[in-house]
Symmetry: C2
DNA sequence: CGAATAGTGTCTGTTAGACAATATCTT
DNA sequence: AAGATATTGTCTAACAGACACTATTCG
């Protein structure tokens, strides 16, 4: 089968983003409201076309910055205050996934700390953090203002579900859960991230022993905080370790 | 940023395949020789254009069948004799990865048993199973007939490395290693798969206890074989379990 | 003080890894 | 018999999970 680059079917290539954060004890995703058909008025994942001279990761980082003001974290560079973890998730290319034309979407997964000042691209009413449970609920779901939330436009419910599952499994065997935390955080705050992402309750004592006993996971900064109430808690930064061995075990029930 | 489907940069979309198997104690990948520029005469991963009305997975399964005669395994359907595991790997879209034009390639990973009768698409000299170590060796590597093997064309060395790493980690926590085995196999044959993929030696006694003690991993067929010499070994089929919990642990050294 | 969160210590059952010992084939 | 592979059993150290207990803050 000869490889003839001049006779190929025309495709559009987009990036879509699953941007996750933990707010008020719930795992939330960034959703944008569609202003035009198809799926006008429905919520969708943020995304857009890949430019002609742009790498896929670059396009995803650009969309992320446009929607949230977050920088994609560069492992080689310094740790920025507003850095989010960004990785490729999967590619979706069903011929009928967009009714207008053939669109192949390279989905990316971003994990961000809860934003002190969320900076929506333009219209605040058209961008929101929504609990993933609400976005994925197959029964009729309605957002704050009564507008229809589910199902998401296109195949975005599937993309979101895949992104959430990726995040849930990756925090088991990597230190990625710290991407949901601010630069300095307590063991209790990190535990609440795990509890929100997995949707389970963890034993605070065993969790503390586990994370502080894993070399390279957490580095104490020396400071303490009482922002959670109770006895002052030590503050930590993320350590250099990327992989957790042995992993954090996700309870089955 | 309006979503204007009539004004998108033109992309070609291809699928590339990392097809892995275990032959003579070595992890091998399918490579095809390029008959035309660019990279003429160099080895590359099999692949081709996605057709205008074709799903990405369908395109990958079609290429796999064209190159090897293997069917992609459908988890819902019956277990076919010549079925290979097929999954999406990642997507590669650097603007300069193909010197001719903008090509986005959705790479897929296939795991196949050692083929009793390899059926190359056409010219037998243009398709071969090559040890991945040879294909990825950064020093000059030369194949059976003295032709240059490395580096692979385009960014295929990176794609192959990513596929190998995916396979290495997935057999840790899933039952996927059985995809490298024929329908009936012994514990020793399964162990040699792990040893070839990971490039380590495993204790036969602890391995046996581990795999036979994991519910749903292996189902005894009742038969035995002496094809490996020594005491007759029980034959097994792959069980229904997909995830191994607890996982197989890959030795560090 | 009581409530809340942080952190340490102890016990128990499971499991990985090391390795002795036995079983059953081929040559 | 010698050599190869298969299979079972035993011991030990590490670790997860349960949970008693202490520490330090706020109201």
């Amino acid at each position: 089968m000869p490889y003839d680059p001049s006779a190929f079917p025309p495709f559009a290539v987009t990036v879509d983003l699953v941007v996750l954060t933990v707010r008020r004890h719930a795992l939330c995703a960034l959703a944008v409201r569609r202003g035009e058909p198809p799926y006008q008025g429905r919520w969708a994942l943020p995304g857009g076309f890949v430019r002609g001279d742009e790498d896929l990761t670059t396009a995803a980082a650009r969309e992320l910055a446009e929607e949230t003001g977050l920088n994609a974290h560069d492992p080689a560079g310094p740790v920025l205050p507003n850095a989010a973890h960004l990785e490729q998730l999967a590619t979706y290319g069903d011929p009928k996934r967009d009714p207008r034309m053939r669109v192949v979407s390279v989905a990316h997964l971003a994990l961000a700390p809860d934003l002190p000042a969320p900076r929506p691209g333009g219209d605040a009413r058209s961008v929101r953090w929504a609990p993933v449970e609400e976005l994925l609920d197959q029964e009729a779901g309605y957002g704050r203002d009564g507008e229809q939330v589910t199902p998401l436009a296109f195949d975005h419910a599937q993309i979101l579900a895949d992104g959430v599952e990726r995040a849930r499994s990756k925090i088991e065997y990597s230190s990625l859960a710290t991407a949901f935390c601010p630069q300095e955080f307590t063991v209790g705050e990190l535990r609440r991230v795990y509890e929100a992402v997995w949707g389970v309750a963890l034993d605070p004592r065993n969790f503390h022993r586990k994370v502080t006993g894993t070399p390279g996971f957490l580095v104490p900064t020396g400071g303490t905080t009482t922002r959670q109430g109770g006895r002052p808690a030590q503050l930590f930064r993320a350590g250099g370790a990327t992989l957790l061995n042995p992993p954090m075990l996700r309870p089955e029930a």
